[in-house]
């Protein structure tokens, strides 16, 4: 659990983060969204003390984050940044091994961990381990950046626009990978982005920042349904709101009894995808199949449209 209590950061006369308080539950993904200059990155960097707050306290699992020297604190917290930040003079394997080496793990354990992480990110350790970062594609570099952040098995992972430099196809793949890794290790992730779509897709909770102030801290559904201010509403984008709302839930949750003709849609697909398929193929209903490929019912245009409307407050 991360408790941020009345954190303020000023540079001279400018207040970059103004009296922000929020609690991040363990094993969840929290996304901090805001435009540039909103203070979102500064807020995140105060968690691992890359930036020292002017006032306020941050507690990690109940312990003040100033109880350790800054560098020791940072070795316990994963850190991944935009454009990956890999060390160009070190191989992929050496890059991943940075934190374990700093922590003084023995060599066999480090080698094993590097191999494990490379395999986890679908990169062959014998091929990619000895390569240098500049020999990798952007997507591969980004995966190595995340692998390095996870190397010492941190409970908390901080990510600063980690997917900002990727093209849309690779980005959505990287987002899926991140979610599956988060489920697998139960890591608490705090991710900074300016992309509300990404925030809604990844976050269990979203913190919207503007001008150093925390405007709203809530679940994606809540933010979509009841944006706290006009600014939040603008970020959410009124035109896309119903579709973003549908994207939060899986087709399985919208299944109605009955049959339908034509190609089926898996229950794990989002309701937005199901509606898109319905509209595109011009059918009134789609059969839904479960993971085993067995039909479990159908979704209808009518049913999904109802779900896309604003929930009663």
């Amino acid at each position: 659990m991360i408790e941020i209590e009345n954190i303020t950061k000023r540079y001279g006369a400018a207040t970059v983060v103004n009296d922000v308080s929020l609690v991040v539950e363990p094993r969840t993904v929290t996304v901090i969204v805001g435009t540039s200059g909103s203070g979102k990155t500064t807020l995140m960097r105060m968690i691992n003390r890359l930036v020292e707050p002017t006032s306020g306290i941050i507690k990690l699992d109940g312990e003040d984050n100033r109880s350790l020297p800054g560098h020791e604190l940072r070795r316990r917290i994963g850190y991944a940044i935009q454009g990956h930040g890999l060390f160009p003079h070190r191989t992929v394997a050496q890059n991943i091994a940075i934190v374990p080496v700093l922590l003084g793990w023995d060599k066999a354990k480090i080698d094993k961990r590097v191999e494990e992480l490379l395999s986890l990110f679908q990169l062959d350790p014998t091929i990619f381990g000895p390569r240098y970062p500049h020999e990798l594609s952007g997507g591969q570099q980004q995966r190595i950046g995340v692998a390095r952040a996870l190397a010492a098995e941190p409970n908390v992972l901080l990510m600063d626009e980690p997917f900002g430099a990727l093209d849309p196809v690779i980005r959505s793949k990287a987002q899926e990978d991140l979610l599956s890794i988060q489920k697998r290790f139960g890591t608490t992730i705090i991710l900074v982005t300016h992309d509300m779509e990404e925030a809604i897709h990844l976050g269990h909770k979203i913190a919207v920042m503007d001008g150093g102030n925390l405007l709203q801290y809530a679940t994606p559904a809540e933010i979509l349904a009841n944006p706290a201010t006009d600014f939040v509403a603008t970020l959410v984008g009124t035109g896309d709101r119903p579709f973003r709302f549908l994207s939060l839930n899986s087709t399985g949750d919208a299944v109605e009894p009955g049959n339908a003709e034509g190609e089926a849609i898996p229950a794990s697909a989002s309701q937005r995808d199901a509606l898109a398929e319905l509209l595109w193929s011009g059918r009134p209903a789609l059969p839904v199949i479960n993971e085993a490929g067995k039909a479990i019912g159908r979704v209808t245009v009518e049913g999904l449209v109802k779900r896309a409307s604003r929930p009663a407050a």
Binding site: N48, L50, H71, E72, L73, R74, R75, R76, Y79, I81, Q82, G83, H84, G85, L86, F87, P88, H89, I98, V99, L102, R131, Y132, H134, E135, R148, A149, L158
Partner: protein, 385 residues
Amino acid sequence: MRLDKLGVVIAVITGYAVTVAPFATFRANRIVAGEPQTLLNSLPAWAGPTLLAIIGIAVLIGLFRTPATFRLAASFAALIALFLLIGLAAEHLTPANNTYARVSPASGFWLLLFAFALLAADALTRLQPTPLMRIIVLVLAGAFIGGVLASGSWDKLSILKEYGARADSFWTEAGKHITLTIGSLVAAVLVGIPLGVLCHRVQKLRAIVLNVLNIVQTIPSIALFGILIAPLGWIAAHVPGAAEIGIKGIGMAPAFVALFLYSLLPVVANTVVGLAGVPSGANDAARGVGMTERQRLFKVEFPLAFPVILTGVRIVLVQNIGLATIAALIGGGGFGVFVFQGIGQTAMDLVLLGAVPTVLLAFAAATILDAAVELSSPSHSRTSA
């Protein structure tokens, strides 16, 4: 076949050198005016035409667009022939049992040397040799010159007669020259790199330090020696023990201090530039993964800035080898001793005895350090196998 532009230039130079310019100069003694000798006159009957033939073939290979390996072989063959035959010319022109007569290479020889060195350098550049190959070529060239010297075939040349007359002091001065050069370089690196790191970290200091060092760099060396006489003389007179370790207003101490001061700017500036060139992502990540400031400096900043810092060291080394010559003016020793003695006695061969080793030393240092810079640069060590 099409003509090569550089080949045309080389052909013109060689044409002038073999037809108009004298190949060697004969003087009855060390300081009288010399009699210029043509190439054919300077050499025994068989050797002159042989040399002309080799030069002719090499010029033809250079003149047309031929493969770089041919050009390199041709230029090396011509250079080797020149080196061997200039010794023979000295032998040929010196009357038997005459120890006063002096034979030295004349403008024709130097022009030929220049022309084929140019052809060789151009061919080497086109071949794009690896750093290691360049060092091997340098070592082979050094070994060849060493071999010719050891064989005694140049002993009749005037410059080696000058050497023969002062062999002991030659090596003493060589030692002083190298001590001055390397010593001031080491001192500049030990002071300059930490100073560069400090300037990188403290913005305000950077402008001040670099400006001061820039001003030092503009002071002419003679003036700097003059400026140093008073303070060093004062230290020698007033600080106990200073005079005992060799600190005085003239001699090695001011030369060392001057070279050190001139060396600081390239070392500090390149350290600052190298550190500033470290990608900000790498620095941020280094902090983010929990490196201490010291770990970040040694594990991330220095390795990434190393090629640029090494370039600064190369500038300093080559610059110091040349500048150390001036140290002789204030009794600091070094190859400059022969240069200034030679100028005083109007004995050009003595000047050459000081100048040629200086040039060779600077050239060798530049080649070796260029190779080292290239080996340490990312583009070299990080290309995929």
